[in-house]
């Protein structure tokens, strides 16, 4: 892009007001002018050329920027910051509609000038609703309405110059990196003090079932922070929404929960939904043997509700033990080389039944729970029987050893006797 072309693109800035934070600098117009709709995006892999002189002083930003996705899309320094990139002297370079380092509110407007425009985002198959979402978020309201500069703008999560696609493992918004990105502010006790928000969420998340699956197993089916809170529309779910949020993934359990006795309590606001048993950031599956103990958070021992919990615990503990026994049985059979295809298929049926038992447990449907856990037990016993049958065969093989050694020792003894007799007949013995 030549200097003249940049200047010609910057001219309309004078005509466009900027709303963000009451600032008068026409930030969004910078992008609007620079990336006019009639100017198709130009793909350039290298933004270094001798006529573009911002890098004379800002080399470190260039190094970061050229690794990001925007460099490939033809965005240049002046497209966001204004100024005259062709000038080799500081005053001339920062003259004219020079924006410099935008404020947080300006940054939001600057990004939105492209990212809120469906026509600009369409070629890249990117959504254009982030700005609207951000305005509705807690972060957006703090920044744009309360003018709280501690609240984040786009670049606090996406980095100002090095913006990578979200499916790039080095990106700040890659699923496994999101807890770190959020934790940059939310683990900062100084910054969070004025909002009264605890700062141990990331630590608790990393220990949780979700955190372990996401960060250790790298299974992206597990949610990161944004899975529950949203990304651009980040908000803590309200108590009434918790079941809905959890139910987006745990569909069966959420449906069952709503149908059960606890669902009514949650709907009326007496129970904080799923969190009542599972907590929020340190979400954890309630171990089968801890079920009744969890009930005591609300129900005193000796009550009928507690007795139901004890009964459920009994079923689930037994089913978990049965499943474990089937699993180890299968592993043992596979280890000795037996074909376990059919048994594995049945084991999967048992696993499904066990998972369905979790659903029945959420609905507190004791009859269904009994049915399902009995099915688990039946399959487990079949696999145990296979294992016992193999062990029995092993014993038969050991008995076979008796025959082998009898024959071998008989042959050796007879040969020995014959040999001794022959030796005695040999001359010189």
């Amino acid at each position: 892009m030549t200097t003249g072309r940049v200047v010609s693109r910057l001219l309309p800035l004078l005509m466009v007001p900027v709303l963000a934070g009451g600032h008068s600098v026409p930030v969004s117009a910078v992008m609007t002018a620079a990336l006019r709709q009639d100017a198709p995006p130009v793909l350039r892999s290298n933004v270094r050329d001798t006529t573009y002189l911002c890098v004379t002083c800002h080399a470190e930003n260039r190094d970061a920027f050229e690794q990001g996705v925007h460099a490939d899309r033809g965005i240049r320094c002046a497209d966001c910051h204004g100024g005259n990139p062709g000038a080799d002297e500081l005053p001339a370079a920062h003259a004219g509609r020079f924006l410099g380092k935008p404020t947080k509110a300006q940054t939001v407007q600057l990004c939105a000038s492209c990212h809120a425009d469906p026509n600009r985002m369409r070629p890249y198959a990117l959504p254009s609703g982030e700005m609207a979402e951000f305005r509705s978020s807690r972060h957006g309201r703090l920044l744009l309405e309360a003018h709280d500069t501690s609240a984040p703008s786009c670049v606090d999560c996406h980095s100002p110059h090095l913006i990578r696609p979200k499916d790039d493992a080095r990106s700040d918004v890659y699923p496994t990196n999101i807890p770190i990105t959020c934790g940059r502010c939310h683990s900062d006790s100084t910054r969070m003090a004025k909002y009264g928000i605890p700062t141990d969420q990331v630590e608790r998340f990393e220990r949780s079932a979700h955190g372990r699956v996401l960060l250790e197993q790298r299974d992206f089916a597990a949610p990161s922070c944004i899975g529950c809170h949203g990304s651009h529309s980040a908000l803590p779910p309200s108590v009434a929404d918790v079941s809905t949020v959890c139910g987006r993934c745990h569909v069966g359990e959420a449906e069952a929960f709503d149908l059960g006795a606890h669902g009514e309590a949650a709907a009326s606001g007496k129970l904080e939904g799923c969190l009542g048993c599972h907590s929020n950031h340190d979400t954890e599956r309630v171990p089968a043997d801890q079920l009744a103990a969890t009930c005591t958070k609300c129900h005193a021992e000796g009550t009928r509700a507690y007795a139901v919990g004890v009964e459920m615990q009994g079923y689930l503990v037994q089913a978990a033990a049965d499943l474990q026994s089937a699993d180890s049985g299968l592993a043992a059979l596979a280890l000795v080389g037996l074909q376990t295809g059919d048994a594995r298929f049945r084991y999967q049926t048992a696993v499904t039944a066990f998972n369905e038992a979790a659903r029945a447990q959420h609905q507190m449907d004791m009859r269904q729970l009994e049915d399902l856990t009995r099915r688990v037990r039946s399959i487990s016993r079949d696999i145990d029987a296979m294992r016992a049958s193999y062990e029995e065969r092993r014993w038969e093989h050991r008995l076979f050893l008796g025959i082998v050694w009898f024959l071998a020792l008989s042959a050796i003894s007879l040969s020995w006797m014959v040999l001794r007799r022959l030796d005695a007949q040999e001359p010189g013995t």
Partner: protein, 413 residues
């Protein structure tokens, strides 16, 4: 009925007489190769006369039980051939079918489990017995001229047995065998000069794959057996030609007329064969080889178990002493194998050769300890740490701080 029986017996006698008259006595080389005969075959005689002469051949009186180690090695080789043929009837050497065919052999084929584990244990015992046989020759200095060529052929046979075991190791196509062979070939690849060529030749693909399996199977059941046949024939021919090395000082009893091969020595061979068979079957029944999960090049197993003595020793040495430990042990073994080239002195007693005794004992001790340690070892494949391909962001994330600083010259024009 009686007339019919007599006619049958006469027909058999005529058939026998025809065979005696018409058959070349040199055909007896076949049973001789199998160890059923010992002496030279007189091709100028009829086959029955040549057989009788061969059976009556006397072996020196100093031939004792310790000389049976070579025979046991050969017997184990025959067991391996027989069980290998039986296994090859049901084994299918392809990525899709190898593992299920092993499962089928173990679980549904009658006595398939026994055949497979006898094959596996024989593969381990043949190495141990072969080393014991070589130790006997080493201690008695039986490799001295004119038998030094036979020692070197024995060394080649040891390598051949290890090649048999190495190629057979991959055939179960489970995670343990797959990743062990992958590791071994990676190690071979790092060897100077020919390492890359040999590894590529063995693999036939950038990674261990179906091409590797086919190559290993072909080598295991076609190439190596022919090589073994040639080397064994040469080894036995030289043993018969030079005879067993007599002790340094013959006692009066040892200087006697000796015993005829049949029935004395054949009976001894039979006794040893019965004992070894019982031992191998016992090991196969009590210690069957476990099977890992089916080979998966994309997922390294949580642990690797080894199932062959040479792999046990190699892993133990690598685990305890790294590549250097393994290389030193290999050098020690090669040094021992080359001893006959340098040993020309008259002293044959091991007491007169303290350095050789210590070196040999050290080798055997390391081998046995390595076997014991390696068989209990559970390792995981090494994780290859590749350098980060691209530079990371400068800036304020903790992650970026842990990554290399970007090279500002990268991509500059």
């Amino acid at each position: 009925m009686r007339a019919l029986w007599q006619a049958f017996v006469q027909a058999l006698r005529r058939l026998g007489a025809d065979i005696r008259e018409s058959t070349d006595a040199r055909l007896l080389a076949i049973p001789r190769f199998l160890g059923l005969l010992y002496g030279p075959i007189d091709g100028n005689q009829s086959i029955d006369q040549a057989l009788d002469k061969s059976l009556r051949r006397r072996l020196p009186a100093f031939i004792g039980w310790r000389h049976s180690l070579g025979g046991i090695t050969y017997f184990l080789f025959i067991v391996l051939v027989v069980t290998g043929v039986l296994l090859s009837v049901h084994y299918r050497p392809s990525v899709q079918e190898a593992y299920p065919s092993i499962q089928r052999i173990v679980s549904t084929i009658t006595f398939g489990w026994l055949v497979r584990d006898v094959h596996r244990w024989s593969a381990t015992l043949i190495v141990v017995v072969m080393l014991a046989h070589m130790a006997r020759v080493f201690v008695e200095a039986a490799y001295l001229p004119p038998r030094e060529t036979n020692w070197l052929i024995g060394v080649l046979l040891l390598f051949l047995v290890m090649a048999f075991g190495s190629t057979g190791y991959l055939l179960p196509w489970d995670q343990w065998s797959y990743w062990t062979v992958s590791e071994a070939l990676t190690t071979v690849e790092r060897m100077p000069l020919v390492g890359g060529f040999v590894a590529d030749l063995a693999r036939g693909d950038p990674i261990v794959s179906g091409a590797t399996l086919s190559r290993f199977f072909a080598a295991h059941v076609i190439v190596l057996p022919w090589a073994a046949l040639a080397l064994l024939s040469f080894h036995f021919a030289l043993v018969r030609h030079h005879g067993s090395a007599p002790p340094e000082r013959l006692t009066a009893a040892q200087a006697g007329p000796g015993r005829p091969f049949f029935p004395h020595h054949l009976l001894r061979s039979f006794m040893m064969a019965a004992l070894v068979t019982a031992i191998v079957i016992t090991l196969a029944v009590l210690r069957p080889r476990p099977i890992g999960e089916i080979a998966n090049p994309e997922v390294a197993p949580a642990e690797i178990r080894s199932t062959w003595v040479v792999v046990d020793v190699s892993r133990a040495l690598t685990h305890l002493g790294g590549g250097l430990g393994f290389a030193l042990f290999a050098l020690l073994g090669i040094g021992l194998a080359l001893v006959p080239i340098f040993h020309r002195g008259p002293a044959r007693s091991i007491r007169a050769r303290p350095r050789a005794a210590v070196t040999g004992a050290l080798f055997l001790a390391i081998f046995l300890l390595g076997w014991a340690y390696g068989s209990r070892l559970r390792t995981v494949p090494p994780v290859t740490t590749e350098p980060v391909p691209e530079t990371a962001a400068p800036g304020d994330t903790a992650r970026a701080a842990a990554l290399p600083v970007p090279d500002s010259t990268q991509g500059a024009r």
